[in-house]
């Protein structure tokens, strides 16, 4: 939990859950595991507010509780999960992916689940059907059955999973990879360890989505009464569903690899890699370094029907992919026409390396980038060797090296000739370590996003008066239009905002949109670096 991460989590919590939850969350992040009394004491808030905030954090999985850590009588302790809070930044990407894969219904299902943390299947289906009905034209409504089928499809492809039951003792919905800091007697169960993790309950949901009635008041009252009188239970109480972030991350990683292959080689090679990844979706766990070996025959049979390339062309493509320096595809044997694997870890490392090189190039120029790439490949080089290999004049090379050194992107390694480290008898070598540099740049990315958010909040605060005025005028306009006013009245109200104010509002909107869009795009870099770091640390541990 670095300072930058805590700052970013605080801002995200404030934007989405309010200031009270932000205070509680920040306190939990900074102090690790705490019980309720300690939180109340340190934040200075009232007990009710703290209880409500902890409930909200638990609902969204940002916090987990452990009971009886120091023995049977000790109070419940709460721990916040920083990485779960950072996921909030990626919510739009998850929703957009669901839309591309499963259409509007899938999009709204994922959106509702992300907003509410976790929900039962029946309540999800009802809410989603109501929302979809609102957007459809008059007279038609969304059937529950359709929404249920989309829900089942999402569960089959593991995009949704059940929350593990919290029967009294430990109730964490985190994966086992995050080792709990406190030595608990029984480790927090992962959702995957629960055998029915991906089983859809047998629930009969018959009905259609309801449109909010605005017509007759009497009918409204009658409907409201009826709804209160029969609470509908559908037999799946207690089974809560949540979004499976790991599966989405696998999907994003696969998409990144496929688009990298498409950029470097061509469309057909990317289709081949896509086929290979699709075939190994269910057989490969999310932490595997490479996919299971697939024979060329299998790949040939599973290629999509639109790509009818002859067999020998496929073999040539596969050879090309194996020989490529980016090492996306590797050869694992000769049986069955050649066994091929996709090197996931190697691919992530190469993509991260390309990201680092591109960052150096954009910040320091192409010649500094040349020095950086040289040091990445040749590991340790002396000052003189750097100048020679990079073919850059000595003075400029020195300048660039020292700029990179001062930014911590390049490290100095001392190799002594004598045990007393005398400067005249020591080699000084420049080197770049990919993993620590990636971690450094990841922290920079967190700081960037936090800065962008703060600037956006500042801009909104500066023009708060103007924004309130425009909101007020919109509300007045809406109420006038609803009660049927003449166009002259409407234009009169619209003219209450003067032209320079309108300009100011437009430029404010432009700035806020730019800052928001920048946050989304920095998050893509964050995802890549995070995946690389987690894959590299897992393989070395």
């Amino acid at each position: 939990m670095t300072a930058q991460e805590v700052r970013l989590c605080g801002l995200l919590l404030q934007e989405h859950f309010g200031e009270v939850v932000e205070k509680v969350g920040r306190n939990l992040l900074k102090s690790g595991t705490q019980n309720l009394r300690a939180i109340v004491h340190e934040t200075g808030l009232s007990v009710d507010l703290v209880k409500k905030s902890v409930c909200v954090l638990l609902q969204h999985g940002a916090c987990s509780f452990i009971q009886g850590r120091k023995g049977p009588g000790s109070p419940t302790e709460y721990r916040a999960h920083c990485d779960r809070m950072l996921r909030i930044l990626r919510y739009p990407r998850y929703i957009y992916t669901a839309k591309t894969l499963y259409g509007d219904t899938g999009e709204i299902i994922i959106e509702e689940l992300l907003q509410r943390g976790h929900m039962t299947m029946s309540s999800t289906v009802k809410t989603v059907a109501d929302r979809l009905t609102q957007n459809m034209e008059e007279g038609s409504s969304m059937d529950y059955g359709e929404v249920s089928t989309t829900f089942s499809k999402l569960v089959e492809t593991h995009f949704l999973q059940r929350c593990p039951p919290a029967a009294g003792a430990t109730g964490g919905s985190q994966t086992a990879a995050l080792t709990p800091a406190a030595p608990v007697s029984s480790a927090a169960p992962t959702p995957e360890s629960f055998p029915d993790c991906y089983t859809v309950p047998q629930v009969k949901l018959i009905g259609r989505g309801k449109r909010p009635l605005a017509s007759e008041e009497g009918e409204d009252q009658r409907n409201a009464k009826r709804a209160k009188m029969d609470p509908e239970t559908h037999g799946d109480e207690g089974i809560y569903w949540q979004v499976n972030f790991e599966r989405f991350h696998q999907y994003f990683r696969d998409q990144t690899i496929i688009s990298a292959v498409a950029n470097k080689l061509d469309q057909t090679s990317s289709e081949i890699v896509r086929t290979m990844l699709r075939m190994s979706e269910v057989t490969t766990s999310s932490t595997a370094p490479c996919t299971k070996p697939l024979s060329a025959n299998e790949i040939f049979r599973s290629l999509p029907a639109t790509y009818n390339i002859p067999r020998h062309i496929l073999d040539q493509y596969l050879t090309l992919l194996v020989d490529d320096p980016m090492e996306f595809v590797g050869k694992a044997g000769e049986s069955g026409g050649g066994m091929f694997i996709v090197n996931l870890n190697r691919a992530l490392a190469n993509l991260a390396r390309a990201t680092l090189e591109s960052i150096v190039q954009e910040r320091f120029g192409s010649r500094s980038a040349r020095i950086f790439r040289l040091l990445l490949r040749k590991r340790h080089l002396e000052q003189k060797q750097v100048e020679d290999f990079a073919m850059i004049p000595a003075k400029e090379a020195k300048d660039m090296l020292y700029t990179l050194l001062s930014q911590n992107l390049v490290q100095l390694q001392e190799i002594p000739k004598t045990p007393d480290f005398a400067p005249s008898r020591t080699f000084y070598l420049y080197t770049v370590n990919q993993l620590p540099t990636a971690k450094l740049l990841l922290q920079n990315c967190y700081k960037t996003v936090a800065n962008l958010m703060e600037r956006r909040l500042f801009e909104a605060k500066e023009s708060k008066r103007l924004l309130e005025k425009s909101q007020r005028i919109e509300a007045i306009l809406a109420s006038l239009q609803a009660s049927g006013a003449e166009p002259e009245q409407l234009t009169e109200v619209e003219e209450m905002i003067t032209a320079p104010e309108r300009q100011q509002l437009d430029s404010l909107r432009l700035h806020v949109n730019k800052l928001d869009s920048a946050e989304n795009q920095v998050d893509e870099t964050i995802f890549l670096l995070e995946s690389y770091i987690s894959s590299a640390t897992k393989s070395t541990s």
């Binding site: 934007e15 989405h16 859950f17 309010g18 200031e19 009270v20 939850v21 309720l36 808030l45 009710d48 507010l49 209880k51 409500k52 905030s53 409930c55 909200v56 638990l58 609902q59 509780f65 009971q67 419940t76 919510y91 739009p92 990407r93 957009y96 907003q115 509410r116 943390g117 929350c163 039951p165 919290a166 109730g171 207690g238 809560y240 954009e362 910040r363 320091f364 120029g365 000052q383 003189k384 003075k395 020195k398 020292y402 005398a422 400067p423 005249s424 020591t426 000084y428 309130e468 909101q471 007020r472 509300a475 949109n513 730019k514 928001d516 869009s517 920048a518 946050e519 989304n520 795009q521």
Partner: protein
Amino acid sequence: MAGKGRGIAAFTFNIDALGIGRGNMPEARVGPSPLFPSIEFKPVPLKGGEEEDYMLALKQELRGAMQRLPHNIKARSNTTEVEKYTERYLKQSELNSEDWTPDWNLFPKELMPQSKKRRIKKGATTKTVKKLKEDKANLLSKLDVSLPSLFCYAIQLLFFKMSSYMHVLRHFIFSMFNG
């Protein structure tokens, strides 16, 4: 130690090994670095396309929706303040926040809200109010005095702590002007 200037402009190591000379040292820093330094290479413009626009719209909608949900907890504001006229229009357009109760099977029991009404406090407050009234009555009767003692009293005030007698003086002047 053995250098040309005794500690002045002398490095402890051989500067030639690093490849730089005495002449091309960077300038010494005077003060903190500027807040917005000028950068040589301008950043690349943002990607702008249909996908990015859609995700931007999603993000803003999501933020707005989550701020209206009951998960968003607002600190209890001071209700004694006068409500601004502008806020009346904004409140009308806001949806009613449904109360959200989590499933207590999943959460620890200690987080359930407790609704214990504390009745003891009410009696205590009435007692203190009565006591104050009695004190006031006593003081007023003591202060029903004539003019010479007023003079002595004024001199007393000049020499003793004014603050503790201020409320008495106020009552005194009040009674003087009225009766």
